[in-house]
């Protein structure tokens, strides 16, 4: 009864505003709930000289980051070659883009060997790895899956995700490129990234 009294005393405009507020709140909530889990963020790895290299070193320019290992026979080199090619095709805009390769096989790939590996692509690229704990932390941050798989004659291979993650100059994750994206789709995503 009292509730009814309160409602009755409300100004007429609230009747119109309340549903709008409710709908807006609902939309915000559902958008927030449907948001993918956050990708990226802070990390600490080692550069080719085994010096610490963090996300702060990449701040100020957008970057494309890819995870693999130097023994990876073709998916990794192909992806890195594509990234170098796409950046070239972006012309002056491409010069802003940093390409980062992180080895998720730190037991075999040393920081120096990852640095030497990215040099093979004859395109400015940053090659990083770290301690197994550092690598696990960045893989977790980027939701990258990797797993050591023992092979019949001893040794192991590394299964790993193949997405390229695009991060803007402020360090915010923007989009990803999958191996199923064709050149046009990938280039469109990269152009959007550097235009931000």
């Amino acid at each position: 009864m009292t509730q009814r009294g309160i409602l009755a005393r409300r100004p007429a405009w609230s009747v119109a505003v309340l549903p709008v507020v409710a709908v807006a709140a609902g939309a915000f909530l559902s958008h927030w709930l449907q948001r993918p889990p956050s990708i990226g963020g802070a990390f600490e790895l080692l550069d080719r000289d085994s010096r610490p290299f963090t996300d702060a070193n990449l701040r100020g320019r957008p970057f494309a980051i890819y995870f693999g290992y130097t023994r990876c026979p073709d998916v990794c080199p192909t992806t890195l070659l594509h990234l170098a090619d796409w950046r070239r095709r972006m012309g002056a805009d491409g010069e802003k883009l940093q390409i980062v390769f992180v080895s998720v096989d730190p037991e075999i790939d040393t920081p120096a060997s990852v640095g030497a590996y990215v040099d093979l692509f004859r395109a400015s690229m940053i090659g990083l790895t770290g301690t197994p704990a550092q690598v696990a932390a960045i893989a977790d941050a980027y939701r990258v899956v990797y797993a050591k798989v023992p092979q019949p004659s001893g040794g192991y291979n590394v299964d790993h995700s193949t997405a390229v993650f695009l991060v803007d100059s402020a360090g915010r994750y923007v989009d990803s490129i999958s191996p199923l994206d064709n050149d046009e789709a990938a280039l469109a995503k990269l152009r959007t990234l550097v235009a931000r």
């Binding site: 026979p73 192909t78 798989v149 291979n157 590394v158 299964d159 199923l180």
Partner: protein, 162 residues
């Protein structure tokens, strides 16, 4: 035991002769086309090699092993792409080469892996690789080492996983 296997072999030979009208023991005639490897970086442990194996013979064969003086081991591998994951697997049985068929070892698919390179593979050089076939015996090929930038074989999107 010996006489048993002799009988089995004779039976197989007879069957093969009956069906194909060729001697069962005829070795597959294998040709290796365009053998190449990717250059590797200083300190990079392993590297990949590719080629096309052509079987002109009338019987199937199998690539069962490979070796090279440039690495401690050479393994036969394949790559599968599944749900956005890259999976590389050793093929301990090797690769079947069908009669009058051709099998391509290429990026994102079948390939050989130089395991524990003694030294980096340099673009422009040629490295010997000895291939061992079950029936066809051994064959040594010279693999041309290609620069990384020249090694992009398959355009995206990736071919379906094998």
């Amino acid at each position: 035991m010996k006489s048993h296997s002799m009988i089995a072999m004779l039976a197989l030979a007879f069957m093969a002769t009956g069906i194909r009208n060729v001697p069962a023991a005829a070795p597959a005639q294998l040709r290796i086309e365009a053998p190449w490897a990717r250059e590797t970086a200083e300190g990079q442990r392993d590297g990949g090699g590719f080629m096309t194996i052509v079987n002109d013979g009338k019987s199937a064969d199998q690539l069962v092993a490979a070796s090279s003086p440039v690495s401690a081991e050479v393994q036969i591998h394949t790559v599968q792409m599944e749900n956005g994951m890259m999976r590389m697997r050793e093929l301990p049985e090797g690769i079947a080469i069908p009669a009058q068929g051709r099998v391509e070892l290429k990026p994102r698919s079948l390939h050989i892996m130089f395991i524990k390179l003694q030294r980096p593979l340099r673009a422009g050089e040629k490295v010997p690789v000895t291939l061992k076939f079950r029936a066809g015996g051994e064959q040594t090929v010279m693999m041309e080492v290609r620069a990384m930038a020249a090694s992009m074989m398959s355009p995206m999107p990736a071919p379906p996983a094998k």
